[in-house]
Amino acid sequence: MKHLIRNTTLATTLLLGAGVAHADWPGDRPIELIVAFAPGGGTDVMNRTLAPFIEKELGAKITILNRPGASGEIAYTAMTEANPDGYTASSLNTPGYLTMQMDRKVRFDPKKLCLVARIVEDPGSFIVQANSEFNSLKDLVAYAKANPGAVTVGTTGLGTDEHLAMLQLEKSAGVDFTAVTFNGANEARTALLGGHVMAIGINVGEFVGSDHSAFKNLGQFAEKRAVIAPDLPTAKEQGYEVLISSERGIAMGCDVPENIRTKFSDAVRKALDNPEFQGKAKQQSLALSYLSSEDWNREMPVRAERLGAIWKLAKEQQ
């Protein structure tokens, strides 16, 4: 019933002053946070966990709306087409956000989409069965050199972070793997456990956050070791140029006044600093790595360029 009452008060506010609603942002009505993935997935759970903490900082109500589909394109389109009054934000994930623009014409205008805050950066990694003869990326590469094409690597599809990581490793080490596509990390893990593929790509957060007693991680593809896996060597330390990570954050339309976006970004930062949230993040193995609106917007083109180069590689191979 609260919902109903809130909607009625909201209605009166709207009827009285439709266009100028953002004068007293964000107090007058709920902010709609579009989650680009289905309920119950990692991104959804993270946003639902975080939302109450942002609410506390902003003194506003946040409602979550799932608009899954086309790796986020549907949500980004809905968000960029929404009224730019600061009451619509969307979750945003890389590398999906970047790779979709390389392959096809997307339905939204990327210039109208502005990054607000990065919440998580989760590096990719390769894992094998716990009793495997491979103990490092070096072992895997050596085997692949001796037996070209014999190493099967499970990925979750073309242009996903695992696939791009595999391509980078192939190029950096001069070897040849066979990519096997699975519908999602869980299917891939099952196949690895059953010995149907030799290695699979998986995000470090996913690895640390699950029962991984049956697996062995060969190395993470980050610049620096992630906070959640300080003991896992990076590919760079092992001598390979493999850099890939998936980021999760929040974006808004660029027509939203900048002071609103900054305010939202600050609220996210304060929410991430909340020890209570950090406790929950730890349980979910979230590799928290905040970037402000400004920093993230600066970093994204660099990332896009790097992915573009690998992408070209993938297309040449096909």
Partner: protein, 502 residues
């Protein structure tokens, strides 16, 4: 006995007032959403996930599990009463269950479904407790090649679902396969058959097709056939199954339980196959296969048992290996992880109360469901006496909300309306939609696994017959095909003779 100790530990956990309360709450909620067409357990559990933050871990998980298997009970109710399967597994229940309802035996069908489910749930629960780890290692031996053989077997079994000629059923399966291929192809990233609609990039949702082909098409047809629906209301005989019903149902329940428990363990598609396979087993085992499709009680009992057993045993890979076998289980995994528990072999050893508590609660929940559902049958059957002019707007509303809520978009509802028209055309063409739905569900699994198997073997088809399990399944498929072809040849020949005589 260590096993008994663990089991009693489980029951002492499951029977605490809190856990008992949340188990009941989950079972009730599950029944409710199962009965409402289109609203699936996945969406509900997603909404409830954040609430479980504030519950003790086991209580939250027990409640979510209750919603899951409660929805299986509830789903068969809608399938039987109004021919509206909310998910793949109840497509089969609708075939004979709805016929039974039309013949005035709705009460029997519902009671057999509930009792069969309870029995299957009990057996599968103990199956998890006793043989969980063994079963999960069996599941792991299923690689891409084995899945291909299993899917071929399943698709062939699908043609048994139809009453009409086998050829039409095969056509419908093919059509289902084609619909299943709509969307972005994961391994190449290319759009397929999407007609550039971004909403189709992830493929068509099962609920959209099911609500369209069954829900909307059924309403249109009923409105058209004014006479036919009068029958539904007037013929309402007994509430409970007859002794004859029980006698015929129990062996079917037994077989269904076995089929369901085994197939449910297989990650990805196993549980869906369970009810289909159980149905074809029953039809093959029966002395009167002609009764199937016209209200055979075995056609409800077997698949319902298989369905529920499969739902329970699909917990096995999650609990023993930490790997979810379908979307529902992925959601359960999220629920565990929110509480900092990572299910798998480690938790099994260090926190046995979680595993055993959940297993025990499943049995308790199943008992509750039977107790909830049996008295409800009277009410459900009364619902059928409501004139159709009052009933169909309600069905229409539930269907629409259900379809909209999948992805919160207009597109899906419009698409479902389109499938409604298609379903209506199928009815005019005397094609049955059941095989299409199975093709639709299994198609993507078949395709990805064929491609996977061929990639891994570098194009050598030998993988399919060199691996023992795969070979066994292929032999079974060929055997079934021969069995199917033979009598139909015989029958057509007989018919031909009869025609000549006449």
């Amino acid at each position: 006995m260590e096993f008994l100790d663990l089991l009693s530990l489980g029951f002492s956990e499951a029977l605490t007032p809190t856990n008992l309360g949340f188990c009941l709450l989950g079972a009730l909620l599950g029944t409710l959403i199962g009965v409402l067409p289109g609203i699936g357990p996945t969406a509900t559990i997603a909404v409830l996930l954040p609430i479980t933050f504030y519950l003790p871990p086991l209580a939250g998980i027990i409640m979510l599990a209750g919603i899951y298997y409660g929805a299986q009970y509830g789903g068969s109710t809608t399938a039987i009463l109004v021919n509206l399967p909310g998910e793949a597994s109840s497509v089969v229940t609708a075939i004979d269950g709805y016929r039974m309802a039309r013949n005035g035996r709705a009460g029997s069908a519902l009671a057999v479904a509930a009792l069969g489910s309870f029995f299957a749930g009990t057996v599968a629960t103990f199956g998890i407790a006793i043989a969980g780890p063994t079963l999960s290692s069996f599941a792991l031996s299923f690689g891409p090649a084995e899945y291909v053989s299993l899917m071929l077997f399943g698709l062939l079994a699908a043609t048994v679902l139809a009453r009409g000629p086998v050829l039409k059923a095969i056509g419908m399966v093919l059509l289902g396969l084609l619909f299943g291929m709509v969307g972005i192809d994961a391994s190449s990233g290319e759009e397929r058959l999407t007609f550039s609609a971004v909403e189709l990039f992830d493929g068509i949702d099962f609920v959209v097709i099911a609500i369209g082909l069954f829900g909307f098409a059924e309403i249109i047809e009923n409105l058209e056939n004014h006479e036919a629906r009068g029958v539904l209301v007037t013929k309402l005989s007994r509430l409970w199954p007859t002794g004859e019903d029980f006698r015929r149902a129990w062996p079917a329940v037994l077989r269904g339980t076995g089929v369901g428990t085994f197939l449910g363990v297989l990650p990805g598609g196993g549980a869906t196959l369970a009810s289909f396979c159980a149905y074809s087993v029953e039809k093959k085992a029966s002395k009167n296969p002609k009764e199937f499709g016209n209200g055979a009680v075995e056609g409800v009992a077997g698949p319902e048992a298989a369905n529920n057993a499969g739902a329970q045993s699909s917990f096995i890979p999650l609990l023993t290996l930490g790997i979810p076998s379908n979307n529902m289980m992925a959601m359960m995994l999220s629920a565990f992880i929110i509480h900092g528990i990572t299910p798998g072999p480690t938790v099994l050893a260090t926190q046995p109360e979680i595993f055993w508590g959940l297993v025990a609660s499943m049995w308790v929940g199943n008992l509750m469901l039977v107790v909830i559902n049996l008295p409800l049958i009277g009410i459900w059957v009364k619902l059928l006496t409501v004139p159709y002019r009052l009933l169909y707007p309600a069905i229409l509303l539930f269907c629409c909300v259900g379809v909209y809520s999948i992805n919160n978009r207009i597109f899906d509802v419009v698409l479902a309306a389109g499938f409604g028209l298609l379903g209506y055309a199928f009815r005019k063409a005397k094609c049955e939609a059941g095989p299409l739905l199975l093709g639709f569900v299994l198609g993507p699994l078949l395709e990805t696994n064929i491609r996977r198997a061929m990639t891994i073997s570098h194009g050598d088809p030998g993988v399919f017959y060199e691996r023992p399990i795969s070979l066994l399944l292929l032999i079974a498929t060929v055997g079934m095909f021969v069995l199917m072809i033979l009598p139909s040849f015989r029958r057509t020949r007989q018919e031909a003779f009869q025609d000549e005589e006449a």
